[in-house]
């Protein structure tokens, strides 16, 4: 049969989870990682990364708004998606998505951004004109008090929200890993390490994403990149990436050493169908190369321009690597038969509901949303308006 080697159960020949389901953990991972970077400054007082604090929050929000779209688009009946909220099945990991998502969106991200920007929103609602004035007025939610005491309360509550946000970010992405890790029918997924690996790869991808965005936006705005900031981000990225890589290798070595009934089948898959995406792209180009380069930046004093180039290269490779990791988990987990006797093939359609163009659109959409958010809520210190008067 076309695209099938060996024996697949006849219902397994086509994949039921497509590239859209690859995007889903990738996008939620970027959200969780961006938030963790923001919390570095807010909770752990790493002052050096302050220039990216607000950008990280807005990036997390832009990607979080898009996060459920690939899931909903993939459903056979998207119109029934609200049933997950109204009649969730208590034993289903997936049923919790709606609640974890809403909690993270409304109780963490939106609240933190609102508290952080509230004084500026109030000022903008007084100084803007036309439709913008109306938008800012709505965004104040009727809370116009910007007295020092009130702002102090904002600061305190914002700190608590960030504190709650850290475990929430872990929950958001760890739970995505659990969706896969808890499927005992699939030995490629079934592992308690999967949620942990997902969390660390999420952190590294989100941090890399915000770092690249920060550098690109500074370039576009013709402003100087704060090198102390990106050096610090790169250092954290390096350490998190080491943990992530160690966990992934632990998983791999454990599988190889244990060599259970599925091993021969999975080993064959890694050496054939997943060879490029896993060995070449994810492990070699996407992990070992950036780890080596980042290591160099920690031990050798490079010139600023060299460091910038290394960071851009490493950030890009990390984003590719983490995408490849999601691909290898989601698609790789469906390429072999649960009989362990055969393999199938996945080809991404260009134009279809779950095709390449839609996927590209879903990756561009958060950037468009981010551009609007940056316009609406400028994170740059020099653009901060002063509140006209305290009520």
């Amino acid at each position: 049969m076309n695209g099938v080697e060996g024996y697949m159960y006849p219902n397994e020949i086509s994949l039921f989870w497509s590239i859209l389901i690859v995007l889903y953990p990738y996008i939620t991972g970027l959200v969780a990682g961006a938030f963790i970077l923001a919390s570095l400054e807010r909770v752990f007082r790493v002052e050096a990364v302050k220039p990216t604090y607000r950008l990280a929050l807005l990036t997390a929000l832009a990607f979080l708004i898009v996060a459920p779209l690939p899931l909903v688009l993939h459903l056979g009946h998207p119109e029934r998606a609200p049933e997950m909220y109204f009649t969730p099945h208590s034993t289903s990991a997936m049923a919790m998505f709606g609640y974890v998502y809403l909690w993270y969106l409304m109780a963490v991200l939106v609240l933190e951004i609102w508290l952080d920007y509230r004084a500026e929103i109030v000022a903008l609602s007084q100084t803007s004109k036309g439709i913008l004035r109306l938008i800012y007025k709505v965004m104040t939610l009727g809370s116009n008090n910007v007295s020092p005491r009130s702002l102090h309360i904002d600061e305190k509550v914002g700190w608590i929200v960030t504190l709650v946000g850290i475990p929430s970010a872990f929950l958001l992405h760890g739970y995505v890993g659990f969706i896969f890790g808890s499927i005992k029918a699939n030995p490629w997924w079934s592992s308690p390490l999967i949620p942990v690996v997902f969390i660390f790869s999420a952190m590294v991808s989100g941090v890399a994403g915000v770092m690249l965005l920060y550098m690109a936006i500074m370039k576009l705005r013709k402003q100087k990149i704060d090198m102390q900031c990106v050096d610090t981000i790169a250092m954290y990225m390096f350490y998190i990436f080491i943990i992530d890589f160690s966990l992934e290798m632990l998983d791999l070595v454990h599988r190889i050493y244990e060599a259970d009934e599925s091993f021969r089948s999975l080993d064959f898959m890694v050496h054939t169908k997943l060879y490029f995406s896993q060995i070449v792209l994810q492990i070699f180009i996407g992990t070992l190369v950036p780890l080596f380069l980042l290591f160099l930046t920690q031990v050798v004093k490079f010139k600023e321009i060299v460091r910038k180039r290394i960071y851009v290269l490493c950030g890009s490779l990390i984003l590719i690597s983490v995408f490849a990791m999601r691909w290898n988990v989601v698609i790789g987990g469906q390429l072999f038969s649960k009989s362990f006797l055969g393999y199938t093939t996945y080809k991404v359609a260009l134009i279809s509901k779950e095709g390449l163009l839609v996927s590209i659109g879903l990756m561009v959409l958060p950037l468009i949303i981010l551009a609007v958010l940056l316009k609406l809520l400028p994170p740059w210190p020099e653009k901060r308006p002063q509140a006209a008067a305290a009520d």
Binding site: S92, I183, K338
Partner: protein, 244 residues
């Protein structure tokens, strides 16, 4: 509460729609059928299966199973003495039209294995459904409320036996229901009825007079992938260790 005639006229159709929604997943009424009196499963006697494909054809005709998807299928195993762990398995078009003939193999054996949903009592597919659209009925049949299913395919991933698929037209999960519309009326399943050798037998484990009890006591019967601990209720007689 006072309801005016105008309000009543508005509420009636809304109530009718709501009631239809409530009833959407309810199986067709069967007189005298009491769910709690049954616990359905199936017995598959591998030594009797001749790989004719009658069961697959009967199932597809009875349940309008779309081409390329299978509520039941038949596999042919070829196990030789030197590769006990790596059997050669085929199932051309689910074994619907039977199998190509083969010469006797002095160093190995051929046998047929009919497959279908195992109607697991602890089914991993029902566990993961985000809205509970698939469930274990009180009579042990694992069913899908297709008017409620989102079509997320999480259950397809969770089934260790490859028994589920997404229906290409209905865009919802689909699988063997043990011909629920038939068994609740006292009939047997389409596959059992059309098996010329009696290799498949519907079994009611709550019926003390069902011959399944005697059979289970006196034969070497196993379930597929027992390590999955799914509480499978499709019992295989003469199951070779190489079968997955």
């Amino acid at each position: 509460m006072n309801i005016s005639r105008r309000h009543f006229l508005i509420l009636m159709p809304a109530a009718a729609v709501a009631w239809e929604s409530v009833l959407a997943g309810t199986p067709e009424q069967a007189p005298n059928y009491k769910m709690s009196d049954h616990w359905w499963g199936m017995l598959v006697d591998i030594s009797k299966c001749i790989g004719c494909g009658n069961c697959v054809r009967a199932c597809q005709a009875e349940n309008n199973v779309p081409d390329g998807h299978f509520r039941t299928w038949v596999e042919r195993y070829h196990v030789d003495d030197y590769h006990l762990e790596n059997p050669q398995v085929i199932s051309p078009d689910g074994g619907k039209e039977g199998f190509p003939s083969v010469a006797e193999d002095p160093n190995g054996k051929f046998f047929y294995v009919p497959k279908l949903c195992n109607q697991c009592a602890d089914s991993p597919c029902t566990q993961v459904c985000p809205v509970g659209a698939t469930f274990v009925a009180p009579d042990g049949a694992v069913l899908i409320d297709q008017a409620y299913c989102l079509g997320c395919a999480y259950c397809v991933q969770a089934c260790p036996y490859g028994c589920r698929y997404i229906h290409p037209e209905k865009k919802v999960a689909d699988k063997c229901t043990l011909c629920y519309h038939r068994i609740t009326k006292g009939l047997t399943t389409a596959c059992c009825e059309n098996c010329p050798t009696g290799a498949r037998q519907l079994a009611d484990l709550k019926n003390p007079k069902d011959p399944i009890h005697e059979f289970l006591r006196t034969h070497n019967v196993q379930v597929l992938k027992p390590q999955m601990a799914t509480g499978a209720k499709v019992f295989y007689n003469d199951l070779d260790g190489s079968v997955r």
